[in-house]
């Protein structure tokens, strides 16, 4: 190591990881509108536990009491299956909070689409509690597991 300071290395790692979803299964930048952030609160109506990415559907009640259906993109279910989480873990009717960006295609057919930049329960806990920060099964190898436990 040229230096004891790993800050540059970590900075580069962080930048690469930030870009990760864009070069993972597909380009989120191409699909979602960075000028259209959304904060959605509503009850889960359906979970599409499919590949390559899962979609969680929810109904959002607007201020005028009308209901708008949204579908929010997650990642591959395979990772969560390894953590013992399946589609039945998310009960229909569960209230969730989604931070994300709306799709550039705003036709909203069959539902308005957004990415699930962060999906949590109303009290702030992540939707899939029990997983570690990386979402992978705990095997004792993660030095941060104990800290992240909830």
């Amino acid at each position: 190591m040229r230096s004891n300071d790993y800050s540059w290395t970590l900075l580069i790692a962080c930048l690469l990881l930030l870009a990760a979803p864009a070069i993972a299964h597909h380009s989120f930048t191409a699909e979602f509108d960075s000028d259209a952030p959304v904060l959605l609160k509503g009850k889960v109506t359906k979970v599409e536990w499919i590949n390559p990415h899962a979609w969680i559907h929810l109904d959002v009640v607007q201020e005028d009491k009308t209901v708008v259906s949204w579908m929010v993109e997650g990642g591959t279910p395979n990772t969560l299956l390894r953590a013992g989480i399946n589609k039945n873990t998310v009960k229909i009717g569960t209230e969730i909070v989604v931070h994300g960006y709306q799709a550039k295609d705003k036709a909203c057919k069959p539902a308005c689409k957004a990415n699930g930049r962060d999906i949590s329960l109303p009290d702030g806990r992540k939707l899939f509690m029990g997983s570690s920060g990386t979402g992978a099964p705990r095997d004792g190898a993660d030095p941060r597991e104990r800290k992240r436990s909830k």
């Binding site: 190591m1 040229r2 790993y6 540059w8 290395t9 970590l10 580069i12 790692a13 962080c14 990881l17 930030l18 870009a19 990760a20 979803p21 070069i23 993972a24 299964h25 597909h26 989120f28 930048t29 191409a30 699909e31 509108d33 960075s34 952030p37 959304v38 599409e48 499919i50 590949n51 390559p52 990415h53 993109e73 997650g74 990642g75 591959t76 990772t79 969560l80 390894r82 953590a83 931070h99 994300g100 960006y101 799709a103 295609d105 036709a107 689409k113 990415n115 930049r117 962060d118 999906i119 992540k126 899939f128 570690s132 920060g133 990386t134 979402g135 099964p137 095997d139 190898a141 941060r144």
Partner: protein
């Protein structure tokens, strides 16, 4: 001349056996298939936070335990920070990001090879970098430029189209990516099959087989294998031109269709296969480059990744472009 008695010989034999025990125990013997070749079967994972290419700030291939711990902790901290979003709505004009990190599974540990903690998967050249020639850089740049097009599905990456996994996860060479880093190996006389979780691709390796006619360019190339002692050696070429560019989180690699990838699989223990490979592609790289990746036994099974079933994203990207037009 004094001759040792039978009791002395017996004691010497017992002592010799006891003293030899540790060395014997260390020399682990790979299980064998019934037809006399090493048994590589099982479900394995190559997930690691060690990237293919070494960061500029790190000079050495081998990290000290302290440096490794710092990197592993820093990466874990960063993953945790991704999910920290502000109260209220996200800011407009920012990177849209992706989804919660609980969906990701890139591993948490740096690669350990023969007891060494590695800063890059590449071991040759010594600087841990891909030795691109200018022609190689041009090829990468041209492909990246082509990715600006959303005119039709054919302009998009194979991963986006669910044809092959992104980032060379199916290889060869088989590289770790953001998730689904699982592989299942099944052997039969004359064949080795590697099922790649991303995108449920199956590599069929013909042992001592003949090459396909040159005009045939299958996805994942044409793989012929042979055994060198305890090691399975696989040579692959005749890549489909559509598979030349392979992009992922930490690497952009380009392999011309006539590149030769040589892989070596050696079972080191009950729970580890050492996966080594070299890439010989003189029209893209200035030299042959080599890498080493531990493949560790995975607890649990490999899952289907039926990518085509729910690929809303490709239509989402194309419709977004139509909307902007």
């Amino acid at each position: 001349m004094h001759r040792p008695g039978s009791a002395t010989i017996a004691i010497a034999l017992v002592l010799g056996f006891v003293l030899a025990l540790p060395a014997w125990a260390e020399q682990w013997q790979s299980p064998q298939m019934s037809w006399g070749v090493p048994d590589l079967q099982g479900t394995w994972t190559n997930a690691t936070i060690t990237g293919l290419v070494r960061f500029d700030e790190i000079e050495d291939l081998v990290l000290t335990p302290e440096a490794a711990s710092q990197l592993e902790e820093g990466t874990a901290d960063f993953f945790e920070s991704i999910d920290e979003v502000p109260e209220g709505e996200l800011a407009a004009g920012e990177n849209v990001g992706g989804y919660n990190t609980f969906w990701m599974d890139p591993g948490r540990r740096l690669a350990r090879v023969r007891g060494e903690i590695r800063s890059s998967l590449i071991v040759e050249p010594e600087d841990g970098k891909l030795p691109y020639s200018w022609r190689g850089y041009y090829r990468i740049a041209k492909r990246l430029w082509g990715l600006r097009s959303f005119d039709n599905p054919e302009t998009r990456l194979l991963g986006e189209r669910c044809i092959l996994g992104f980032g060379s996860t199916g290889g060869p060479p088989m590289l770790p990516v953001l998730y689904n880093n699982h592989y299942q190996i099944v052997q039969s006389p004359g064949f080795v099959m590697i099922l790649v979780e991303m995108n449920h691709d199956a590599r069929i390796i013909r042992i001592e087989g003949e090459r396909l006619p040159g005009v045939i360019r299958p996805w994942l190339g044409d793989s012929i294998g042979h055994w060198e002692g305890e090691t399975l050696v696989v040579e692959t070429t005749q890549f489909n031109p559509g598979q030349n560019f392979r992009a992922s989180l930490r690497h952009f690699i380009y392999l011309s269709s006539d590149a030769m990838v040589t892989e070596r699989f050696t079972r080191l223990s009950e729970r580890e296969i050492l996966y080594e490979f070299s890439v010989d592609d003189p029209t893209t790289y200035n030299q042959v480059w080599r890498a080493e990746i531990p493949m560790l036994a995975a607890d649990g099974q490999i899952y289907e990744y039926a990518c085509h079933e729910g690929n809303y994203s490709l239509t989402g990207m194309l419709s977004a472009e139509r909307d902007e037009e």
